[in-house]
Every structure is written in C-alpha cells, then in structure tokens.
Amino acid sequence: MRRSLILEASVRVLYPSIIVLSLFFLFAGHNQPGGGFVGGLAAAAAISLRYVAGGVRAVRRSFRLDPWTILGVGLVVSVVTALVPLLLGGAILEHGTLKLHPPLLGEVKATSALPFDIGVYLIVIGLVLMIFEAFGEDSESELERVEPPTTPAASVRSEYRPLGQHGSARLWLTPDDLSETGDAAGSDSSGGTRS
C-alpha cells in the first residue's frame, strides 16, 4: 500500500485533537449542542482519518479492544442508565442531576444523561470500528485476489436470469473454493512443467 507522508504526519496531530473535540461534545451534550451521538461521529471521523492514513492495521493499533465489546458495553451502559430510574421508582429514562463542588473546578453538574451519552458514544465508535473491520481489509487484499468480472457488463443485459444461473455465481468465495482454485492452479502449473 502506498503511504502518504504528509497525510500520516498531519493525522498524528489531528487524531488526538479530534478525539478531544469529540469528548468535549460528549460532556457538553446534556444542555448544549453536542451529545453522545455527535461526539461519537466526531470520534468516528478521527478513526476514519487514521484508516485513510495507515489502513486497518493502524485502526486496530489504536483500539486494542474488540469492536464487538465496545459496542456491547456501550449498549449495556445506555440500557442500564435507562433502567436505573425504573428501579428507583420513577419512569424509564427519567433523568436526575447532581451538583458537585470539587476544589478548583467550581460547580460541576453531573446529569444522568451523561452515562447514557457515554453509552451512545461507545456504540457509535464500536459500529465504525466494526465497519472498518469488516470491509476495511478487503480493499487491500481480497479485491486484488478476486479475478476481474468474467462477464462483461453488456452481456449481463440478459439480466433477467436468476442469480443461480449466472456462470460466475461459483465465484462466491468460501474457504473451500479458494483452496480448490489454488489446488487447480497448482496442478495446472505442475502439468505445464511436465509437458
């Protein structure tokens, strides 16, 4: 894969700053523009920048956790936040605020909307990571391995054929298929050398 020095260097600066911005959105969200979803999207933008610069491996390096786990934990946090007021005898999703006076910071308002937002934030990040995990790698390895379309687009004009009838339907890549074609190619080449 070709790498761009300028992009990589600038992402190194941009990535942390966008993450900080996304955290600001996350914490400001309860009564100002922002919130978990917007913050998560900002973080997702940062992650995609890193993907553009360094590929899926760079993304994996920055998030050691499984994308599944991040998504799941996020959903747990959000749903539990929704459930807690129910256990305390209120309505579902009811929120409360807590005013704290820690030294130096003055008055800090903690709302129960925050954990919900954190959950949403994690869900969005987990989702984006999952997308990169699922599709990110293909563009580097698999696409090059797959042969170019055997049927030219024009001949597919008789497109009312059912899917099963397409000759190329066999190109569905299962591990078995891959090993089969590999074997076939191997035996072919060996046959070639023998002759």
Binding site: W68, T69, G72, V76, G89, A91
Partner: protein, 498 residues
C-alpha cells in the same frame, strides 16, 4: 406504581442483546442470556395482561414527561394480548433455533439480533406514539434484514434485497405520512392525534387513513402489496422464517387495527374498501398457495390469505368483527409459527421442502406428521381445531353485519385452504417421493429433541387454545370493546380531566 412493568418488554431484550454482544465468544452464555430474558418477558407480559385486563389501560411516560409532550408507553388489552402471544412464540422459536445445530442460528450475531427483533416487536405493541412506532418498526425490520441474510448465500442476498428495498420504501412512506400528520395536527402522540384528526376535513382524513393503510399494508402483505413476501421469507433459515411468518406481518396488522380504530372514526366507505382489500388478499393468498411446489413458499402464500381474514374482520368495524380479529390473530400466530417449525423439521428430515421430492413421512417420521396435522386442520378451519373457532367468530360477525359477499368469499377460501392442506398431506406424508430423497447422514427420526420439543410446545399451545377458547374469546371481546370505544384509551393517556 406497579406500572414500571410497562417498558420491560422493550428494555430487557435490549439489555440482553447488549450482554450477548459482550459475550459473543461464549455461545452457551449467549443462549442462556437470550433464553432467560425471553422467559422473563413472557412472565412480564402475562402480568401486564392481567393488569391491563383489570384496569383496561396501563401507562408509563418515558422520562416522566406526560403525554402529549413525551413519549408514552401504553398497554391496553389488545397490546397485552399481542405481547403475551409474541413473547411466547419468540421463546419457543429461540429454543427451536438453539436445537438446530449447524445453521445460521449458531452464528455469534444471531442471539443479539434476535433479541433486538424481540425488543422491536414489543416496542411496536407498547408504544403510544406514532413516531416511536416508526422507530420500533425500524428496529424490528433492521434486525429482520440481518436475520434474513445472515448466511450470505446467493439466494438470500437476492431475496433479502427485495425485502430490504420494499421495507425501505414503506418506511419512507411512513415518514412522509408522519410529516404530513404532524403538519396537519401538530402532534404525533396517538391519543392526541385521535382528538385532533376529527377536526380535519373529511378528504384529508380519508387521505391519511389510506396512506397509513398503504404503509402498514406493505408490511402486512395486503393485496396488492404482498408480492415481496413469498419471495423473501422462505430463503431465511427455518426458525427465522417461523418467527417472520408468525409475527412480523401481524405487527403490520396490529398497526392497521390500532390506527384505524383509534385515529379514524369508522365510516362505511373505509369499511367497504377494507372489505374489498381483505377479500382480494384472501383469494390471492390461497390461489397463489395452490400453485406452489415448495412447502415454505406455499405456507408463505397462506400467510397472505390469513391477513385477508384479519382485514375482513376489521373492515366490518363492529364489536363482534374486531373481537373476532383479535381472537383470530392470536390463533394464526400460533398456527403459522407451528407450521413453519414443522416445515423446518421436514426440510431437515427429508433434505428438501419440495412437495414433489418428499413423501412417506407418515411412516418414517410419525411425530412430524402429528405436528403437522394439528395446525393444518386449524389453518383449514375444521372443527374442533382452533382455526374453526377463529373463523367461526369472523364469519358469524360477517353474517351479523350482513356482508354476504365477503362471507361467501371467506368460506370459499377456507375450502381452498383445506384442499391445499390435503395436497401437502398427500404429497409429504402419504405416498412415495417422486425423486429419491437425499439421505443426509446421521439424521434419523424426527430431528433433534429440542427442535421437536419446541414444535410440540406450539402444538400443545394450539390445543390449549381450543380448550380455553371460551375465556380467550371473552378476553378478545373485551379488547374489541375497547377498540371500538377509543375514548377509554384517549382518556387514559391524556388524563380524563383535560
């Protein structure tokens, strides 16, 4: 207040879905979480039904914001009945799916998505807010897209495409309807809408009514919007088809019933339109079924036929008609799920679900034959099956309303259904296969015990349904009374002292 039970059928499956995602690597833990959550939902639903039958409407405002400002969760008798039925079916089908080894059901994503589907179905029944209904539908549909295409096989991708695109068009129409409703009335709360819609001119009212029938009709598979259904359902894995067939279309029917009875004062024009649609849906469903060779597709066409019966009952707009529909929906969900579970067993036992290929199952797997016979008789509506009770209620309601034409269509369709069921019976259970069946190794008997047990459970439920048909019908009648008298619902949501 004990009303805190109301949101649980939505929240508990969601929480369980989250936990199953976290435990994606431990399949047994996943299955246990899923089973436990759905079992607890069954208990919650039964409790809610008892409470709703007592107080007629149970309410919780999300976030403590009262209607019409906040989103309200409302459980009335109809919602509670649907909740109980759907949660039981979801649990049974999950057991069946766990029993079916070596299929998509063992995919690590199956449990979370199935639970999200469960949450979406519950949310559609519970919500008292039109936009929230949209969100619930999307939750359910998004999960169903994934379940349908989980295997990623070519036929699944093809049929999944049709399904997703059709559903998306329906969703776009739904948002359009919501936007128009909001600009006309300034609210999306159902009870509030019910108060404000009568103030609109009659033309606008009819337009909204038809637009909503169109939107939900696509999801329910009404004539002429049914074409996607028999294409897409059969390609899904067995248990998934069963839950789709049993529940998803009925959620659409539920939405039609809810909106038509609550929002729009019944008038004869609309009723006639619904009766015509219902009759055509019945006919198309059963005639389509007669032409099919594949068992799952055949049964999918019967889904459409049964939707027709429900719309026929609703179109009468009488207490008896609506009560009969409520009764019939519950019965259909039971029977339909049962039939598709049996179809899955046949598929597994004989290696094919094609009528021309399988045969002689009455000798090789009598258990399957028994599990098929009970719901098949029910579907055809022969006494003393549960289907007889349902159809009898519908047809006597039709006779009371003096709608002779639709009643005769319904009877004719019933006869054709019987013919179709005997066709299946003769092809699958009697006789010999025309083509030698593919013998799959290690598959003797009816199938894995969990799968058979789940199927037997649905059979037992539909037998129990006949035995307790009296009390259930009385309950349905009370629900029908509520539906034809929406003031109860509106007062409960908005408060009687407006």
């Amino acid at each position: 207040m004990i009303n805190s039970l109301v949101p649980l059928p939505i929240v508990v499956p969601l929480l369980a879905a989250a936990l199953t995602i976290v435990f994606a690597k431990f399949r047994v833990v996943q299955q246990l979480i899923a089973l436990a959550s759905l079992a607890s939902i069954v208990a919650v639903s039964v409790a809610l039904l008892a409470q709703a039958d007592d107080e007629s409407v149970v309410i919780m405002d999300a976030g403590g914001w009262a209607a019409p400002l906040g989103v309200t969760y409302v459980v009335d008798r109809l919602s509670a009945i649907m909740l109980v039925t759907s949660s039981i079916m979801l649990l049974v089908v999950l057991v069946y799916a766990i029993g079916q080894r070596g299929s998509e059901a063992t995919h690590p994503a199956f449990s979370p998505i199935y639970l999200v589907l469960a949450a979406g179905v519950s949310a559609s029944f519970i919500t008292g807010d039109m936009f929230n209904l949209f969100v619930a539908f999307e939750m359910m549909l998004a999960a169903s897209y994934v379940l349908l295409t989980l295997g990623g096989r070519p036929d699944q991708v093809r049929s999944g495409m049709t399904y997703v695109v059709i559903s998306l068009v329906a969703s776009a129409l739904f948002i359009t309807a919501l936007a128009l409703l909001y600009s006309a009335t300034g609210t999306v709360n159902m009870a509030d809408l019910a108060e404000r819609i009568p103030e609109l001119s009659s033309g606008v009212r009819t337009g909204f009514s038809l637009l909503l029938i169109l939107v939900f009709g696509i999801k329910a598979g009404l004539f002429p919007l049914f074409f996607w259904l028999p294409d897409s359902y059969p390609t899904a894995p067995g248990p998934v088809t069963a839950i789709f067939a049993g529940l998803l279309t009925k959620v659409g029917v539920y939405a039609i019933i809810r909106t038509q009875t609550l929002l729009f004062a019944p008038d004869s024009q609309q009723g006639t339109a619904l009766l015509i649609i219902g009759g055509l849906t019945m006919l198309v469903g059963v005639l389509g079924a007669l032409a099919q060779d594949d068992l799952k597709r055949l049964l999918s066409f019967h889904i459409i036929g049964q939707i027709g019966y429900m719309i026929f009952g609703l179109g009468l707009f009488t207490v008896a008609g609506v009560s009969a529909v409520v009764f019939y929906i519950v019965q259909t969900i039971l029977v339909k799920t049962n039939l598709f579970l049996v179809a899955g067993l046949i598929d597994r036992h004989a290696g094919s679900s094609r009528l021309s290929r399988v045969g002689g199952l009455v000798r090789s797997a009598p258990v399957i034959a028994f599990c098929f016979a009970v719901p098949a008789l029910s579907l055809a509506g022969l006494p003393p099956s549960s289907g007889f009770a349902g159809k009898f209620a519908l047809i006597s309601a039709g006779l009371d309303a003096e709608q002779w034409l639709i009643v005769s269509v319904a009877l004719l369709v019933s006869l054709l259904t019987l013919y179709s069921m005997t066709k299946i019976w003769a092809a699958v259970f009697w006789g010999d296969p025309e083509v030698e069946p593919v013998q799959v190794e290690g598959r003797t008997g009816a199938g894995p015990s969990l799968m058979v047990a789940a199927t037997m459970a649905t059979v037992a439920l539909s037998i129990a349904f006949v035995i307790f048909a009296g009390p259930i019908y009385e309950l349905a009648e009370r629900a029908g009374n509520d539906l034809t008298n929406p003031a109860v619902y509106i007062d409960a949501v908005l408060g009687a002292d407006r």
